[in-house]
């Protein structure tokens, strides 16, 4: 009986050589920039406890792959990298070295409900800057992500920036309680304009402020945000001032025209407490990556420190990056019993010069023509004999 060839668990994929190669190149370029930015790469386990990482990760419960270990404890396949890294950073080993800069390139797992083709396992690369609650840390991670997008050649890249805390304060000023502003934020996450308009009618927003409330989703610059800032509220004033400085910092790093400051921008990842951002580019219909400040998450690990970071999705970057089709030289040496020694020497020689060589015993190839077509150069045993 032959095994059913195409059966794979829902959302799991084989990466054929071409994609595997593209991913390897992308990893090389990305991690190079991450390391040069002063970040150290690390790996965390694929399996984590459901009780810790599973619950903290802010990935919805039904998207987690759960399994039991031999002692009956529930485990999860890691659904994100931010929470494991927060756990690592909170460990004794690193606690004293704050601020720390950690980077990663890892696969994460999220179960898919729809369309079997959607990946349930995908690679992410990103960084976490832990132990620095300044604006400069935020600017640093956004700029680094931006540099990676530029280096990879993502077309018409754009980033959208919002501020979770400032939005919370502004919504409170419209007279909303925590539950109501939670509902509004949910609609903001989905940019459901119709839903916001319908909900607004049921909320205790004063008549004269309604128009201003409905404009929340339309801001694109920091200056646009000013109309909602309550000058008498010190926290709002300071956060707004921070945003102005951030705009300046990022402008200097070359992001100027490519940022949309959208006060209503929120993330479904509930652990973000301050700045939140997302990246987009031509070629992919889905966001390329996102990030933000998550001081609250560190608190859950018993640390009162600031933390910020981003993660980019490798599968979507691949869609967005126009792959270079330059063919690398690849030599095939076909040998037989007589030319075996010569072939081996020749291969070694070419490999030492930095090129790829495939050594193949000629009689084992059934269809010679389609096989040799895969290579840029072919050397046969006869040629080796004579030369």
């Amino acid at each position: 009986m032959t095994i059913e060839m195409f059966e794979k668990p829902l959302g799991m994929r084989d990466d054929f050589p071409l994609i595997a190669k593209q991913k390897a190149d992308l990893k090389k370029q990305g991690t190079h920039l991450i390391e040069h930015g002063g970040y150290e790469l690390l790996q965390t386990p694929t399996l984590e406890y459901y009780e810790t990482i599973g619950k903290i990760s802010a990935i919805s419960d039904d998207a987690l792959f759960k399994l039991l270990d031999n002692q009956g404890k529930t485990l999860v396949l890691r659904p994100d990298m931010t929470s494991p890294i927060a756990r690592v950073a909170a460990s004794k080993l690193l606690r004293e070295k704050m601020p720390i800069r950690l980077g990663y390139y890892s696969n994460v797992f999220r179960a898919q409900k729809r369309e079997g083709g959607r990946p349930a396992e995908f690679e992410q690369m990103g960084v976490e800057l832990i132990g620095d609650d300044s604006l400069y840390a935020d600017a640093e991670v956004i700029s680094l992500a931006w540099d990676i997008l530029k280096e990879l050649g993502v077309g018409s890249a754009r980033t959208v920036i919002g501020h979770t805390r400032l939005l919370e304060l502004i919504l409170a000023d419209f007279g909303l309680d925590a539950e109501q502003s939670g509902k509004v934020r949910e609609l903001f996450v989905a940019k459901n304009g119709v839903g916001v308009e319908q909900l607004a009618k049921k909320l205790p927003i004063p008549e004269n402020k309604l128009a201003s409330f409905l404009k929340l989703m339309q801001a694109t610059t920091v200056a646009d945000w000013k109309r909602w800032i309550n000058e008498e509220n010190e926290e709002q004033r300071e956060l707004y001032h921070d945003m102005e400085r951030l705009e300046g910092l990022l402008g200097r790093n070359g992001l100027g025209d490519a940022i949309t400051f959208d006060i209503s921008f929120s993330s479904h990842m509930t652990y973000y407490t301050g700045l939140v951002f997302e990246f987009y580019g031509a070629g992919s219909g889905f966001p390329l990556g996102s990030g933000g400040r998550y001081d609250g998450l560190m608190e859950q690990f018993g640390l009162q420190v600031g933390a910020t970071g981003f993660g980019l999705r490798v599968d979507r970057l691949l869609e967005s990056v126009t792959a270079e089709k330059t063919e690398q030289p690849h030599t095939l040496i076909l040998f037989d019993e007589q030319s075996e020694q010569n072939a081996f020497d020749k291969a070694q020689q070419i490999r030492n010069s930095g090129k790829r060589v495939t050594l193949q015993y000629a009689p084992a190839v059934k269809a010679l023509e389609p096989f040799t077509a895969l290579f840029t150069e072919v050397i046969t045993g006869e040629e080796l004999h004579n030369g």
Binding site: S156, R158, V160, A190, K191, N192, G193, V194, G195, E197, Q218, T220, T260, Y280, G281, A282, S284, G285, F286, P287
Partner: protein
Amino acid sequence: MDELTIAMPKGRIFEEAYELLVGAGYDLPKELDDSRKLIVEAPNEKFRFILAKPMDVPTYVEHGVADIGIAGKDVLLEHDRDVHELLDLGISACYIATAGLPDTEMDEVTPRIATKYPAVASHYYRSKGEQVEIIELNGSIELAPLIGLSDRIVDIVSTGRTLKDNGLVEYEKIADITSRLIANPVSYRLKQQRITELVDKLREQVER
């Protein structure tokens, strides 16, 4: 000016949406729908229309092959897609309701519900705490109670004519439906100025 790809459902919604766009001052070719073409260009406005099955519009938009689209709220409720719902166009108004033969009680153990909207129906009965068996059909839902396939149906009601002609009555209303302008989250950011302008112009039309 960025080119905008717009996914539109064929048929009645298309005509109403076309009127709205023309009313909003967009210069569109006269004969858009009466060809069998699936892709129609409006070069003067740099629009490209994709004519699709209504159920598929949110799919095209979610994957970003269409920047924006016009989709019924019924489809959006049924398929929970990652799209931005920007504007209620107020066209093709109708509602989703339950219906069945007059003066009938639902089966006490597990009533059967025939519908084209299994997710909506399932969510509705679950929220009422009723256990039901959902039977998915692709059309002529009204047939189901007549031939004893189901106790109730969950379907779109616009005038109520079809129900009446088949001797069925409406029981409960589930949700009001109109057509919505939806956008792909990435397109919304990369072409925000154009899309916002379109939303504003259409809003003026809708509110008139």
